[in-house]
């Protein structure tokens, strides 16, 4: 059988705002599934015992845990905003190239602003 190129085709095209945000949506989505399991661990430990919950919060307080938390907040903000963009497209709205590029940049900037806001809320 002839070996033809298969998706994801990331190596074939020059990166553009549309394609980069598209693959970021998948990457953050996959990452968030890990974050969801982490949240599940937290809830489970809280229902289990004070010791188990303490173990969980200590892991989250570790510098690596804080990094994961900030990453989780950013991924959630980005995926949420870009998801709204996708829902508008599903409704047939915002397909003009100018609108696609503009909503893309708004999504990127807003995701970082929201991450800063929620990280402050989280750590202070």
């Amino acid at each position: 059988m002839k070996q033809r190129p298969l998706s994801p085709h990331l190596q074939v095209y020059r990166p553009q705002i549309t394609s980069v945000l598209s693959i970021l949506h998948r990457i953050t989505g996959a990452g968030l599934t890990g974050g969801l399991l982490l949240l599940g661990w937290g809830i489970w430990s809280l229902s289990h015992s004070a010791e188990a919950y303490q173990c969980f919060t200590e892991c989250m307080a570790h510098p690596l845990g804080k990094l994961v938390t900030i990453g989780f907040i950013w991924a959630l903000c980005y995926h949420l905003l870009n998801g709204i963009r996708h829902l508008f497209w599903d409704a047939g709205l915002g397909f003009k190239m100018a609108a696609v590029n503009a909503s893309g940049w708004v999504t990127v900037i807003a995701s970082f602003v929201l991450t800063a806001v929620f990280a402050c809320l989280y750590f202070y």
């Binding site: 298969l6 998706s7 994801p8 998948r26 989505g29 996959a30 968030l32 599934t33 969801l36 399991l37 949240l39 599940g40 937290g42 809830i43 489970w44 809280l46 229902s47 289990h48 004070a50 919950y53 303490q54 919060t57 989250m60 307080a61 938390t69 907040i73 959630l76 903000c77 949420l80 998801g83 709204i84 996708h86 829902l87 599903d90 929201l114 929620f118 809320l121 989280y122």
Partner: protein, 134 residues
């Protein structure tokens, strides 16, 4: 025109009958639709979670227990968990279907993912209920 046994012959059918025989629009459609429905539900629920995340991740045991015992927090968290685990499973299934091309690895990963997220989802829901009713 349909082909069978190397012979081409004409079928007498209405355009509707022909359209019905094309494509699926069954379980695939439901997968796509539920991904959108859970996404819509997750807009307010995720914003709520972002505001309440410190109550689970950094609070003391007593504070977190108190927060979880509030009926509104418990109900909203249960709704979030349902929508989020459902949405996560649907999304991972699409990613595996798109990128895993191995005929053995693909079904194995799809089944494992389903078991993992159904299991973890039920555990999380059970934990919330236990804190509230035990």
């Amino acid at each position: 025109m349909t082909e069978s046994c190397g012979k081409t012959h004409k079928k007498i059918e209405t355009p509707l009958a022909r359209a019905k025989g094309l494509g699926s629009a069954k379980s695939g459609y439901k997968h796509w639709w539920m991904q959108r429905v859970t996404a819509l539900a997750l807009i307010p629920l995720s914003v709520w979670l972002l505001f309440h995340l410190p109550n689970i991740f950094t609070a003391s045991y007593a504070e977190a227990q108190l927060w979880m015992s509030d009926p509104w927090n418990a109900v909203t968290l249960l709704l979030f968990l349902w929508a989020a685990f459902y949405h996560a499973l649907l999304g991972l299934e699409v990613i595996i279907e798109d990128y895993v091309h191995c005929h053995v690895g693909k079904p194995v990963m799809l089944i494992f993912t389903r078991f993992l997220f159904l299991g973890a989802g039920v555990m999380a829901v059970y934990a919330v209920l236990k804190i509230n009713f035990a």
